[in-house]
Symmetry: C2
Subunit: 438 residues, 2 copies
């Protein structure tokens, strides 16, 4: 892979970002006023990119630049091309998702800079969940968004030839997909040096995970599906840090891992991160709010998300056709229409199975793999952190080893809740729970 | 789609093919002697290409040229690029399949000419089966070939990045894939004007096929899998006309439909065509040979083919790794190795299910769809033709509506044989048989 920096590439700084914007009249006009008065705020917090918010007298933009390495590890080289892929994803889902993504103002393919709408006063969903703040619409909005983005880019709606074109244009995102495959499906399930966890508290559980062949097999199986399925254009990293919300609006950001893949990748990832937010809550309890009501609310949001996704996807499929998959004209008569409708339910059941497996793998990798996330990682007391993590890991393990026991989303939230009660009463003794224990 | 002919394209004739070869010293040298003495034989017999065999004093070559339309219907335009795709397929499987494909001598991307090894004294397998001639190794050879070609191009062995490169390079084969999807998974299952069949004999059966929503659903389901799976580089048109055999050698030709798809596409297609050869036999009976022993032999070959494919694929997977799917290092310990081996069996069981569904769809499309094939199409007496076709259609229907009843290849050959006996005793009354009838 070629990691040589292209000649025009220069890493932006809080100073150079304003001169860059000033050189582009449409962007400068959007900010308004004199460049010297623009306010720059660096908000890079992911693993991959530099991010600046720049505000002028009349407006604001968000400037995102690809770095040639992992942001937190300069020795881990990465190709820069990924924000071209991000742009491609935005462009292809935009016609189908109302205003669920930010506006794209500018893309510079020499400097790997993407300038997009600043989302304000939106809050990152993960931050809100850590803070115990409720956004009433996010679950329904994200459910509808995933249904719209995946249905309209699937073979149920899109022409096969158009899909092949997008697949070819996203090919150079290979390096990111390799990272994802290795860090998600492989490393967490065997003793890889890239893993880390809350030690010594979770050592025993991690040992059990690495000793259990059922877990690595389930992870490899869903990983293989991830590699060989081109069901729809998926976001592929739809965690709670990729969702920004206000009381009336929800937006999806950061699709640089976007790829044609299995639809369950997006539903599973989002559910996984909501469950991790759920298990992290006790650590954020205060005298005013013990967070038990908030936990119940999170479980409700998980159900709302899945139900909305499923209902929306089915509604879209019943209302629209045109793709090469299950062509409408073949099922035009009454018996055909009835058979196709039963098949739609089966199709969604298969996405459900993928969702469970992917959610489980994502939970496990977020606790014992390379990349961790703020809700659990931010818990200061290691014993409390490990207790929350053990609850989430128990759920993840059950979803992988006994998937047949979870026929509906309420089966999952019920078990999650029981595990949480059990964890509360278990004190510092951390272990896996099996379904017969709860 | 752009169907304008490129400036250098000129349709070869028996005359111009020799001057073309003469202009290429390496090809002329292979033929030997003077151009005026070269013997040209046009052997075009497929739906898509011109094919000439040219023989000189020391050697022979096979010249294949893409036509800008379906060979038998000049109004049906086709892009010419497909023999580039054919070359790509040959190049990518060549390192893994011993001598199971012809040597490639020359590819002209301006004139869409591919010059390959002449296979002599090989006979087209379909012709041999019509003639009642047995090649002792073909079933095992083709089984091993499919295992080698698909395993080595799958994510079990190949790097994901390399696979993505092949997928992108084959993208312009879209037009052929559209034809295949429409003619295989759609048209035969509803009243499309492109369908035709032996009429009036099969009218009632065709009516039943078009009335049965289970059949179109099963066809659409495997068609959807075909569109969304990138398991391996498949030949995608592996019928008995794409196999050439001698007593000691078997070769695979005509991969212009080659694409990344589900592995069951190749195993299913080959099995489908062997079953059609089986049902066609009574029409070719003579006083010396009633073909019943030959029919039994064909069923044995079907079993040998599948068993060899399955065994070879498993052996390859156990012996080799390196791909991103089920990475070997994750399953290196004893419990991991045991779990992975069980998963391999499950993996092959899934290919088996795809094989059954695809074989069934291929049988049905070859009898009532657009493209028909010589073994059944060549039967002169329409009643006898329809009787053979009804037997094959009955098997195809059973495989689609009761797939759970066929756990192994011998379950399929046993039912095929019973259907054939039943057909013999039924006389001219043609209808579908259900499993309880036989």
């Amino acid at each position: 892979m070629n990691f040589a920096l292209p000649p025009k590439y220069e890493r932006l700084t809080a100073t150079t970002v304003t001169s860059y914007l000033d050189q582009h009249p449409s962007l400068a006009a959007r900010l308004g006023g004199d460049r010297s008065a623009w306010r720059v705020e660096e908000v890079s917090d992911g693993y991959l990119n530099l991010v600046f918010l720049v505000t002028g007298s009349t407006g604001s933009v968000c400037v995102k630049q690809s770095l040639p390495h992992v942001r937190v590890d300069e020795s881990w080289k990465l190709p820069l091309d990924r924000n071209r892929c991000e742009r491609i994803w935005f462009e292809h889902v935009a016609p189908h998702v109302d205003r669920a993504i930010p506006d794209i103002y500018h893309h510079d393919s020499d400097r790997f800079i993407l300038v997009i709408e600043t989302l304000r006063p939106h809050e990152v969903l993960r931050t809100a969940l850590i803070g115990g703040r409720r956004y009433p619409d996010f679950a329904r909005d994200v459910g509808r968004f995933v249904a719209n983005a995946t249905f309209h880019t699937s073979d149920l709606f899109q022409r096969y030839e158009d899909k092949q074109e997008v697949i070819a244009s996203l090919r150079h995102n290979d390096a990111l997909h390799r990272i994802m495959r290795e860090l998600v499906f492989q490393d967490p399930f065997f003793p890889s040096p890239r893993n880390h966890w809350t030690t010594p508290q979770l050592d025993d559980i991690v040992g059990q995970i690495h000793a259990d062949p059922v877990l690595r097999l389930a992870a490899s199986r869903i990983g293989y599906k991830f590699m060989t399925s081109t069901q729809a254009l998926v976001h592929s990293d739809l965690h709670t840090g990729a969702v920004m919300a206000t009381d009336g609006d929800t937006r999806i950001i950061d699709p640089e891992f976007g790829v044609y893949g299995a639809i369950g990748v997006d539903t599973g990832c989002f559910i996984a991160h909501l469950f991790m937010a759920y298990y992290s809550q006790p650590a954020y309890a205060s005298a005013e709010d013990d967070r038990t009501a908030f936990q119940t609310w999170i479980l409700e949001q998980i159900e709302i998300f899945w139900d909305e996704f499923r209902r929306s996807f089915l509604d879209l499929w019943r209302a629209k056709s045109g793709g090469d998959g299950y062509p409408a004209f073949v099922f035009a008569d009454a018996v055909g229409a009835a058979a196709l409708d039963a098949e739609r339910e089966r199709f969604l059941d298969e996405i459900w199975q993928d969702t469970l497996a992917y959610a489980a793998v994502k939970i496990i990798r977020s606790i014992i793999g390379y990349s961790h996330f703020g809700d659990l990682e931010g818990i200061a007391d290691p014993d409390q952190k490990a207790a929350s993590e053990a609850g989430a890991l128990s759920l993840g393990r059950l979803l992988l080893v006994e998937p047949g026991r979870f026929a509906s989303i309420s089966d999952v939230t019920a078990v999650a809740s029981k595990l949480q009660q059990q964890r509360r009463s278990a004190g510092s003794r951390l272990s896996f729970s099996s379904l017969k224990d709860i």
